[in-house]
Symmetry: C2
Subunit: 461 residues, 2 copies
């Protein structure tokens, strides 16, 4: 059983010095104890230790198109024009491309401080829209990538049925996303069976959105999944764009979050991704369900979504986590930072997340995202304590931005600058995957990624 | 005369392949020409080449406190509480501390893609408020740091007279900032003499703000400086916080930018730093002067300043550049990115900087900031053409985020992700200061920085 000495360690009840972490052979934290015998042979970690971040919302394939839609256009540019570009790209990926793109992304997410990732996966069918002979072909590409990189994974196969509210048939460019409810349930069961013995990987369910999932299909799918797996996480995109709010109002006379809370059994197993546009009533009602708001600050900024009502949501006891979503950004601290900075710009004040409280904003953001992320991923992660996975991030004590800092000031320096990029070592499930800032597979991953991008570019013309 | 082959190079009229850059012994670009003889012995640069960014607004000493004010407080937290923390810190720095803090900052700015920095310097006096025997002691600490790091510098000694509009005497904690007009002019002349033969360093004038500079002193100082040095840049903080706008209205019945444009000879030599809170008339009037708006997106977000009226300003032909200001961030691309992302969040659309135009947003941001930065620094920088300083940034062609990208898509990938941190080599005035991502002096700089922070921490108790 390997044991490590953490010179400073963020535990559930705060910072502690000289903490011994006992980790069993299966990658679980077996014990957390004070150092009592200084002669005990221990590997001393090279800086402050915090739990690995959980990326609660990712579309891995979009990494390969990150940066390709940063251009103006004569007609103006919005979420929906970006989506057209994304669709064209989605049609070009073969399963082996997805393995190579996702593996590279996951290596980068690990170096950015994440130890597990929730994949909101809707790229089910072959490019021509026909199901693969093995339904799970594209899902297993994602699983294979996560195994290759060594990152924890919650893989959510996504139900996608319609193009808009009211049952509009899917568009031709959505043909890879569309599965019947029964096929989706079968896919989920196969994944559940294949991941049953892996403590760092699990599956669940995603509903693409209220646009893409009619009420009957939503109810039936959630019920079936929770009958089979009562603990399964359920994620859904909701209220990201005002056009979606308007369309939902036109369809149902209710706003999307209100509609969802009225018609679905939303509880602590749920994660509402974005939930950007909520009335005060919706904000309080979402908080009261115990569900997690899945915030994706760099993507929401990139796509011009708008500002999440953070302060009312926190005041109502709401839970949140962060996700890398479109994967323009792979740095966990940038998501946390931009979440707070957006609020500062909006409210013209500082330290909005901790308004009225004498405490560190970096720690409040980190601990909020750890708790919400673990809840949304439904993995035993997010905290350094016995019975959790050994998912650790070691910051580099030699980073100039951490000099003379201790305790919460380390987190403030890491998240707000000047210690950006201070991740030194990363452990997932007891296994070191990043050491001294380098991932053992990074050269291989990069070469395969390059080859995949070249294949895709050739195919796109 | 060293000559280099740039495989791709961003020239004033766009991207060109296989460009030969001839650089003379004094660090000037002597020629830019197509490669005609493939057998010519040339050093081939390791990726796409762009002009070095110009950081048009920095307070170097604040780097050492970056991250120390990211905490809530029971009474709420604003710009003005942050300023109190900054004042306490400013009182603790000795000249040798400033050398060590600024040198480390400048090494990091170089690695972040900046090749010169404009220092808005107001830390003139000794900690007890008495002038140093040599007035230029603290200014020369900054100059020494820039020489040590090898970054270009425009050093602006700052006039600071009063605590608020209407001539309120300076606060005790502002005692290091306060100089008589004559002393400030004398300081500027000494700096001008000392930097006369250095093509990468010059001086100019900063007026701290309308709060700190009464009308008579402003008029007299600007006139005296422009009599002596007609080309000297003049920078001023203006309209950063709404409280300043309110105080200016109470004092003069005019908003700060309107007051300044009415009472000062603002022209293309001026840089108005922040200019966040402007009416539509002020925005158009500022654009018409030809002055540069000095935008500091990461600081303005960190301090909860608000959103700059970018679109109306650009529509009126306004010029802008970016600065690292409080130095929470040392990455030029993050300033450019956050400038655009803040606008996207505010307007709920994408590609605001290039609204209505079919062109790259990354390139529009970069070229805007290069032109505005060079104008505000009044250095022969910001463009790869004969007669300019050889200030170059070479991006790493092996960075996974740049794979299969060319032309403007390289810039979009660098600025918006996925190629963050892709700076490989940096040249300032013909001298390589960063190679393969490393600065030759970075270990020394970091050790000296660490020692300085320990001294400062001890002094602050």
């Amino acid at each position: 059983m390997p044991s490590f000495l953490a010179p400073q360690c963020l535990l559930p009840d705060g910072w502690a010095d000289d903490v011994v972490l006992d980790i069993d052979a299966a990658g679980w934290i077996e014990g957390v104890r004070p150092l009592e015998d200084p002669s005990e042979p221990l590997e001393r970690l090279h800086g402050p230790v915090v739990p690995g971040l959980i990326d609660l919302h990712s579309h891995a394939f979009q990494r390969a198109m990150a940066g390709l839609a940063e251009r103006g256009s004569p007609a103006g540019d919005h979420f929906w024009t970006w989506r057209d570009a994304m669709y064209r790209f989605a049609l070009a990926l073969e399963p082996e491309d997805l393995v190579d793109v996702a593996r590279q992304l996951y290596v980068e997410l690990l170096r950015g401080g994440y130890t597990c990732v929730v994949e909101f996966h809707y790229l089910h069918n072959a490019p021509d829209g026909r199901p693969y002979d093995a339904l799970e072909t594209m899902s297993m590409a994602v699983v294979e990538a996560s195994l290759g990189a060594g990152i924890g994974l919650t893989h959510l196969p996504t139900l996608y049925r319609t193009a808009d509210f009211g049952g509009a048939p899917p568009l031709p460019e959505q043909r890879r996303f569309v599965l019947e409810v029964e096929a989706l349930l079968a896919l989920r069961e196969r994944l559940e069976a294949r991941l049953a013995d892996d403590p760092d990987r699990r599956t669940g369910l995603a509903l693409h959105s209220l646009r893409a999932v009619p009420p009957g299909a939503l109810e039936r799918t959630v019920a079936a999944v929770h009958r089979a797996s009562p603990d399964a996480p359920v994620h859904i995109h909701v209220a990201e764009q005002t056009a979606e709010v308007d369309a939902c109002l036109a369809w149902s006379r209710r706003r999307p979050v209100a509609w969802l809370l009225d018609h679905a059994p939303v509880d602590a197993r749920w994660c509402l991704v974005h939930a950007t546009h909520m009335s005060a009533d919706e904000t309080a009602a979402l908080a009261a369900t115990g569900a997690v708001a899945g915030l994706c600050p760099t993507t929401e900024a990139n796509l011009g979504d708008g500002f999440f009502p953070l302060r009312p949501f926190l005041d109502a006891g709401g839970r949140f986590g962060v996700g890398s979503d479109a994967n323009v950004c792979v740095d966990a601290t940038e998501e946390l930072r931009l979440l707070e900075l957006g609020q500062r710009l909006l409210h013209r004040e500082r330290n909005v997340t901790t308004r009225g409280e004498a405490r560190s904003t970096g720690r409040a953001l980190l601990e909020g995202a750890l708790a919400g992320g673990a809840q949304a991923a439904r993995l035993a992660a997010g905290s350094i304590e016995a019975g959790r996975r050994a998912d650790l991030v070691v910051l580099d004590r030699d980073h100039p931005g951490l000099v003379t800092r201790s305790g919460d000031a380390l987190l403030d320096a890491w998240i707000f600058g000047p210690a950006r990029g201070a991740v030194r070592d990363v452990m997932v499930g007891g296994r070191w995957v990043v050491r001294e800032g380098r991932h053992a597979g990074e050269v291989h991953a990069r070469e395969r990624y390059r080859a995949a991008l070249e294949r895709i570019a050739e195919r796109c013309g």
